[in-house]
Symmetry: D2
Subunit: 337 residues, 4 copies
Amino acid sequence: MKNIGIIGAGRIGRVHAQSIANYVNTAKVVAIADPMLNDETIAWARSLGIAAVTKDYMHILNDDRIDIVLICSPTDTHSDISLQAIAAGKHVFCEKPIDHDISRINAVLNALKAKPELKYMVGFNRRFDHNFRAIRNAVEAGKIGKVELVKITSRDPEPPSAEYAARSGGIFLDMTIHDFDMVRYLSGDEVVEVFTQPAVLVDPAIGQAGDFDSAVISMKLASGALAVIDNSRRCAYGYDQRAEVFGSAGAAASANDGASTVQISDSNGVTGEKPLYFFLERYMQAFATELTEFIAAVVNDTPVPVDAQAGLEAVRIGIAATISAKEGRPVKVSEVA
Amino acid sequence: MKNIGIIGAGRIGRVHAQSIANYVNTAKVVAIADPMLNDETIAWARSLGIAAVTKDYMHILNDDRIDIVLICSPTDTHSDISLQAIAAGKHVFCEKPIDHDISRINAVLNALKAKPELKYMVGFNRRFDHNFRAIRNAVEAGKIGKVELVKITSRDPEPPSAEYAARSGGIFLDMTIHDFDMVRYLSGDEVVEVFTQPAVLVDPAIGQAGDFDSAVISMKLASGALAVIDNSRRCAYGYDQRAEVFGSAGAAASANDGASTVQISDSNGVTGEKPLYFFLERYMQAFATELTEFIAAVVNDTPVPVDAQAGLEAVRIGIAATISAKEGRPVKVSEVA
Amino acid sequence: MKNIGIIGAGRIGRVHAQSIANYVNTAKVVAIADPMLNDETIAWARSLGIAAVTKDYMHILNDDRIDIVLICSPTDTHSDISLQAIAAGKHVFCEKPIDHDISRINAVLNALKAKPELKYMVGFNRRFDHNFRAIRNAVEAGKIGKVELVKITSRDPEPPSAEYAARSGGIFLDMTIHDFDMVRYLSGDEVVEVFTQPAVLVDPAIGQAGDFDSAVISMKLASGALAVIDNSRRCAYGYDQRAEVFGSAGAAASANDGASTVQISDSNGVTGEKPLYFFLERYMQAFATELTEFIAAVVNDTPVPVDAQAGLEAVRIGIAATISAKEGRPVKVSEVA
Amino acid sequence: MKNIGIIGAGRIGRVHAQSIANYVNTAKVVAIADPMLNDETIAWARSLGIAAVTKDYMHILNDDRIDIVLICSPTDTHSDISLQAIAAGKHVFCEKPIDHDISRINAVLNALKAKPELKYMVGFNRRFDHNFRAIRNAVEAGKIGKVELVKITSRDPEPPSAEYAARSGGIFLDMTIHDFDMVRYLSGDEVVEVFTQPAVLVDPAIGQAGDFDSAVISMKLASGALAVIDNSRRCAYGYDQRAEVFGSAGAAASANDGASTVQISDSNGVTGEKPLYFFLERYMQAFATELTEFIAAVVNDTPVPVDAQAGLEAVRIGIAATISAKEGRPVKVSEVA
């Protein structure tokens, strides 16, 4: 039985704690750290049988009984805590992104090279989604032949505040980063060039904050195949999350998940459910599978499904996309060292 | 080039005339007869290049240059005109049903036995529909294994008047007759027993006229397979025409046709088109194919796709269903001699 | 915190124990009884933190700390254990059916009348399914107007053995009983007459055992509306579970759930997932919601979603359907006292 | 009754002649010209009742009885014949593109300015397709709010020969030109900037001929909205023709048309029809509507649905896309004078 400490008791930290309680028999959460700790947090932790609750995550890193650390703290702490956790000999699950600074991600990669016995996984939850995985399985099974195009539609239900946008690293590192990882995952290929057609169509304040809220991003992959992502920070009908891979022998495409399959036919037409609105609802199963597979990799000493390199590559593409948006030109990912 | 005379210049007669003008190169309409003939009818006939227009259909039957007769007159004239046309040596396309009286249909069958060189086809247009034919093709190709169940949903957009219902022969001979033919067509099997669960749910006046406007009809087929039809005389979202055949290896099912494939996603849901509302719109292609295949059978001297026997069987099932509805018991089709 | 004892540690008992562990905060499973108890059962119970494990369910009924009993034992023990549990003052969740004998179900109803403070719920899990509930919600919200027809398709992936069929009470009490409950649930109406068109199309041994493996069952409801169920014990493409309610203003219909929304387009066509194959997979969410809502009714002292009367009515319809199949005639449910 | 002369008796010329024969009452084809005229052409023309058949299209232009000319000859003759037909005072329907040379298209526009009484329409048939038109109607009706993104997927079933590619003007002027027009049509907006991510993934010979066979093209529109097209010259499952418009209040998206709505469920999955394979089959209705609406515009002296300016704009965007593909940079359409 592996012991887990969670750093960060916010929304995603709690989702992971619950997933482990429900679905994992080989590990349990024994401690949780959050600087904002309050009575509610403590009560929640108790309800899951988590004995140790602390404001200082170093208590977790210094606890020899703890094998695994989940980093669910704010983005700007990810790389520092990663380095400390690796130094403390912990297996690490880190929410995306590791950092927005390539040199800091490389520091994490270097630290890991020195400790090959440690598992380090990045939380690209969409790789564990039933729909995207079914596409990937079809691609791997050769059902669509050689990959020629990856298309991803990714639209959030509601825009963030301009304040959030200003300190998020920008849409390409905050939102599109998931889609960049998905391009790599679905194609099994590397992105070599990015061109971004950005726009501010949803909220002028986001533009004034120096960010964008809409974009089309086209890419060239190492194999010569193409990819394209369309993003919007606002989608009137919910969380639009679709992908299509087109190849020499056909295509595999997913549709959105709705709350039911029911269609109502009346004098207005035939109406089905909207896509699930909230990302936690849409990806609940993916979050559970993600943790299950990570812990299985630790327990069985097998490779993690999403390694630190994947975390690095998505950020490099995100930075290239950001440069492209600013400079209005296609940018090679190799420019981002 | 075969010459065609049309008896009855109503809606369906005009549809057939137009289909022949558009799609048939081996035959042309040369005469049309209608007792209600007026200037508008004449102008319409002229616009299609039909020279001869008459009130008396005997002019068509007596015209030696005419090879083929389409009987598009009121139902109660079908068997009489059929007998006269056969006597006159014409190939006949007769709208459904041949008659509501089995003995009169048998008279037509007997007349045809004496003239095996004549083609006689009954207008069960749905057999020529792209959807139903694709199901039949799948069944014939063995894709669903041995047939175990045929399910048909058939709902009209708007109910007829109670006056119409009163003189229609009843819903089972007027409306369901198409579905009975479809059960035979899709299964390639014969109906041996019928049970009707009827209801008056749409218009009490239809019930007062001695008819029903809603029904579920279950059947046993000669092979032991089952069939079920559900009917309604009113459907708020249009003309609902679906079928499913279930077998030992799978199922083949059709959906409705809409005016487009477009779906609009908004805060209310994902809304697609209603089924096409009007039967002429829904089955326009089927009507054209029906005539094309009938004329090809005449020109090439090959069997017609829907013979007089099919016309007889559908009426027998319809009468059995009517008896079942009245007597509240399953009725063998063999009771209907 | 309510304490729960589970009687029967088979498949469904374990599903319920897991659901409670995962989703219920107001109650916990403290004991489990199973006459077939073995080391594996004990280990499983331990893994869920269930301390008391016994071969004798009376230990549960006699334990004053236990508030709630889940009856997950074989069907022929349901009514006896129900009576004992009620006598012991327990709230009861009983898997369907309560019994195949109306008088024994009535005994349970009578016992409950004497103890109105006890909750008694029957495990018609499909009422808690996201798809069927969405249909019911649409009907209740008046979106389809006045109900005119309920249609249910219910096909199992694989037939039971003939031995199972022989002692199951027959297909209508073993399998269709769920669909009868669904007719009542979706329509909010009562079944007054049943006609069964049965067949043996899947396995002759089932027929030799005196049962059927295929059927079309048509019904008349108290309001005058109609209903129809089609059943098969074998479905090549998985567990086919669909419903449609048609009314004066439209229709609400559900489709099957698949493992993903992915469609693969290639030279053979556009292919999507089969329906989920196994009932536990298909109804996993429904089983969890069912227990959650039952326990909430106990905790909050509110009416249970599926009461004993519902358990009685489904069996009465099932018996009427069985008589209809044997006697070849429509049977009034009022004949089944 | 207007008289029509068709220049070019190839595939598309014949489609238009047949459409007019079937659907147009206010005009008729009286002459056809084709330098490759042979007995088969003559027989075909006779079968449609076209009396005059000639090798020299000037016979048509010089015939005072002819009001309307359809230019269905090879692309490189379109602008010359257009100029001659305008000079001869004919209304003109010209297949796309008018020319690949902007100055020659401008010559046509100038000629038209001098004769405002003449109708001139360009054959962008997809504007008349039921699916694309339903999207446009939804956009115009405000159902999706303010347009933010237009997405078009356009894939041909089979690649052309490298020889064809070499003299086609390139994929962007030969194939994507339809999609550029669709961006303008669906958005009601103008393209101001284009970036092309091109590839040779289907046939290296096409690359050797200096052309591409795959591309993703992203665009910025005058309103600030975005657009993206993905193209492939080969699609294993047929002719893939889809569009989506996303806006502030929702999205409208079309799916492909198949030969039927039938789905076959078996142990392999649930399989529906492929998209219609051949463009004439897919757009048959659109070709008919196109001609019907053009002739109605001539007869009623109303604006044509696709004017010469639309023909110019699509070519300008195509040239910008071609420059972008060659120079690897975003190109303003205003660069193309």
